[in-house]
Symmetry: C2
Subunit: 336 residues, 2 copies
């Protein structure tokens, strides 16, 4: 059985929702769970010990703590101890809904990076027109990027899409302000020249609309732009649903209409709901690490653990590793 | 009567939709229009000459032409001739649905910039929760920005919001990947330090969600990020409506539900439809210039002209000018 360490103290609703989500997995025998955190605080929510172990530590990383501070002072935190269990081989993946900057810092510090990766990237999955999902990376891991970072994101995203999500020949694009080669900013122009050289199904620049119209599978950006793209998406979806909620309250006719369309509204909300996806993999670290939304509830945590399990089974780490070996060989050839 | 030059040859549906939109304004006596373009091509759509003049030129800027090329070779284009009419004082505003990069280039070249403005910015208006609209700038004018550019955008956006849109003490924020001061990238960190020094109702960093939840009035970013924010918004809204269109087709129950909710769907689409807004002002040039979506139809053009008229009446140019005088005085004091 795949064994997964869960940061029991990370997230706005920790430890309750985290423990409940983890336990729903262990109880069903879907994975073996190691809950890391303050035993006294977690225990009230543990009702079934099958496939569930606890590792005690009273230290936890605050949600708003500076990652550098956590890295210096909180090596004994539930978050880092989860990564240490992964490093030592006791578990095959880590799931945390804690401070995502700190999770990234500890993942790099404790697990280390896959050779050839300068910066790991957070890859988020997005609903889109037609089948499947679009992958956006980096969604907020590395804010100030160099062209080589974007190139590595493209290769990692491609490997993830192909090997883990099973997308044949993923279409990869750089998120830009227009499709023409004359568009883009300093960073994307240099990255574009680099990415072209690898044998990807590379579309060049893609626009924000392409993330949702099904034209692209892997959308590459720096973490600053990626995070804004993510939050703008959230904002627009919230605005639209808020608008309908408001309007429906105001008329009996609209209420009846909503009643008849309820299944569709629910289906879409399910598509858009982060708790349905569970979390986002951190690509480029030497392991499987799922970073979850701070507001993760039991369902989100359950889905995040299932995602981690799937990524272990599909060989996420191995496929990124392979892609980066190609990247390094290519770099060496160029340097000659 | 306010007199407005309209680029009759700019836009995917030019000249037909442009002429029809312009004429609907002149016919009603809402403004006096100067249509600039190829007379032979425009004339078939002109049925009423009241308040409508034409200025002939056979040259027109292509939608995909490099702005630098247009600037070198197309000084006689309908687009630039419209700006020349503005420069000479014959009209008080220019409206164009043509190549927006070229429109920006000609606006700067022919009208010039307001003193103190290094880069003009395209300011787009967005629906949001509650009342009013949010202003995003720059939505794609200047891709690679310096911190002083963002500072100028903040001041211009603030002046536009306060004087033209009538928002008391507009809340201004820099679009970033998180609210904390530790977030942001190199550009926003330096811009943040600069903008703080002006007496704006400045919120610091705001997130993508804040553009739509009503927390911010003026959202500042470089043109690369702004354009992505704009297109991502479009993509998410399209995705949601496409999803409902699809779902409604599949069941009789959903069709009935849609019938009952139709008014709400229409109301939202109106809110989100760029043809309802008409266009976006280019802030920082020495005049009033409205840049429209390339796909502008008659209605969009009509609304864009009404927007131009309103901005002339409300003293858009004068209020930006005043804000930039304050900016320059402040810079001088600092240099001492």
């Amino acid at each position: 059985m795949i064994r997964i360490a869960v940061d029991g103290m990370g997230g706005d609703f920790a430890p309750r929702e985290i423990v409940k989500g983890a336990q729903s997995i262990s109880r069903e025998g879907l994975a073996s769970i190691v809950l890391v955190g303050d035993e006294q605080k977690m225990r009230p929510f543990v009702t079934d010990h099958a496939n569930l172990d606890m590792v005690h530590t009273p230290v936890c990383v605050d949600m708003n703590e500076a990652p550098s501070n956590a890295l210096r002072k909180k090596r004994d935190s539930s978050m880092n101890k989860a990564f240490e269990l992964h490093k030592s081989g006791e578990v095959q993946a880590v799931v945390s809904a804690g401070n995502s900057g700190a999770a990234m810092a500890f993942a790099i510090f404790t697990l280390g990076r896959i050779p050839g990766v300068d910066r790991p990237a957070i890859a988020t999955l997005h609903p889109r027109m037609g089948e499947g999902v679009s992958i956006l990376l980096d969604a907020g891991g590395t804010v100030d990027c160099k062209p080589t970072h974007l190139t590595q994101f493209a290769l990692m995203g491609n490997a993830f899409a192909a090997s883990v999500l099973g997308i044949a020949s993923p279409r990869v694009g750089i998120l830009s302000n227009g499709e023409e080669e004359t568009k883009g900013n300093e960073l994307t122009r240099d990255a574009h020249a680099l990415i072209k050289e690898f044998g990807l199904n590379y579309l060049g620049y893609v626009e924000g609309t392409d993330m949702y119209n099904g034209r692209t599978d892997v959308v590459v950006s720096d973490g600053f732009v990626g995070n804004i793209a993510l939050k703008i998406s959230e904002g627009v979806a919230d605005l639209i649903f808020e608008f309908f909620r408001d309007g429906i309250k105001k008329s009996r006719k609209a209420q009846l209409g909503y009643f008849l369309l309820k299944d569709l509204f629910k289906e879409f909300q399910k598509k858009a709901d982060y708790s349905e996806t569970g979390g986002a993999p951190l690509l480029g670290v030497d392991g499987v690490c799922i970073i979850c939304h701070g507001k993760s509830n039991e369902k989100a945590m359950r889905n995040a653990i299932l995602l981690a399990k799937k990524f272990v089974e599909k060989g996420l780490k191995e496929s990124v590793n392979e892609a980066m070996q190609d990247y390094q060989s290519f770099q060496k050839v160029k340097e000659r």
